[in-house]
Amino acid sequence: MSKRLKIVLIVLGVFAGLGLLHLWQNVGFENLGFGSKQAADESKFRVGFLPVT
């Protein structure tokens, strides 16, 4: 494998990794249908609040 090809593959790998990380952090895999229905159903019901009464 040539040095150029190695660099291209590494760069593509880094971009793919960053893309997946971004997707996971901002969307969540279960919301994309990657997770099982059971996992989605068991996700907690999120309730927002301010630290005031």
Binding site: R46, V47, P51, V52
Partner: protein, 290 residues
């Protein structure tokens, strides 16, 4: 409180409490669809519904628990002394704004007689301390913080101006209501049960103050102990059902204040089914291990 008791009773919470520091951020997160439930200002929920956002108010979080504070050295002793002063409010779409609107009206003034500044509640104590504003109004424990730290003075507790005052309500996306009504009922039941538990004795209030301060609010437990006991009815948790007359009063004031575009029916922005099922609720049968 519901999450804390659930976590202790069965080892896990059923809900994920997500803390915010300002109402606009909370509103935006709710609108994004990643926050099916939220404790939100009552007039803000009404306004969102009027704008077509598919949410419904399903329950209250508490009653009272708001105070209008001034600097202890100020010469403000009643509403009439607020003329020409700067008052910080949490948001234009808040009952705290409506209470100021109503109070000014009762004393023959209008909002044009004062300067109203929208400010995130956590910033209010510092603003009052620095005398950047003359008065602040928001939910506890931030108002009590000014009192406890020695520079704030209560001008009025909300209940003196507006008995059974409502600040925050539990609003839930209609999608969540339709797809998972059992979750919404579980949450509403949990709030009702933890409310009754809180009202069952001062010992419970003090335990709650310690747990909530450290785990959820990131505040000094001493502050929450003060809020929940001085006086004990500073914040109340035993009358959380959705009462039509209370909301009609809010809607009427909101309309007069110009924060609603037109009349809105109680049935349009509430879903009372969950609240109605809490009749006869008993407190959580749980005591914190010693």
């Amino acid at each position: 409180m519901t999450d804390w008791i659930n976590t202790n009773m069965v080892g896990k919470g059923f809900f994920e409490p997500v803390r915010f520091s300002g109402w606009p951020e909370l509103k935006e997160a709710h609108l994004s669809g990643n926050l099916p439930g939220t404790f939100i200002l009552a007039p803000m929920a009404m306004k969102l519904r009027q704008q077509g956002v598919p949410i419904k108010i399903v329950y209250l979080g508490h009653r009272d628990g708001t105070a209008l504070m001034v600097h202890k050295d100020s010469n403000i002793y009643s509403f009439k002394d607020l003329k020409g002063k700067r008052i910080a409010i949490p948001n234009r779409f808040s009952n705290q704004y409506l209470i100021i609107f109503k109070g000014l009206q009762d004393y023959g003034m209008t909002v044009n007689d004062v300067t109203l500044l929208e400010m995130p509640p956590p910033d209010m104590p510092a603003a009052l301390y620095a005398k950047a504003v003359d008065a602040v109004i928001a939910g506890e424990p931030l108002m009590a913080q000014t009192e406890l730290d020695g520079y704030g003075r209560v001008l009025y507790q909300a209940k003196e101006l507006w008995p059974n005052f409502i600040s925050c309500v539990l609003a839930v996306e209609e999608r969540a209501i339709n797809e998972h009504p059992e979750w919404v009922q579980k949450l509403v039941d949990g709030i009702a049960k933890s409310g009754k538990w809180l009202e069952a004795g001062m010992e419970h209030r003090m335990e709650a103050a310690d747990a909530v301060a450290q785990r959820y609010y990131n505040q000094n437990p001493r502050l929450l102990r003060f809020v929940l006991s001085k006086p004990p009815d500073r914040v109340t948790y035993n009358n959380l059902l959705l009462a039509k007359k209370d909301f009609e009063q809010i809607a009427d004031l909101a309309l007069k204040a110009g924060i609603l575009d037109g009349p809105i029916a109680f049935e349009e922005y509430t879903d009372t089914r969950f609240s109605e099922k809490t009749h006869g609720t008993v407190p959580y049968d749980w005591e914190e291990p010693k």
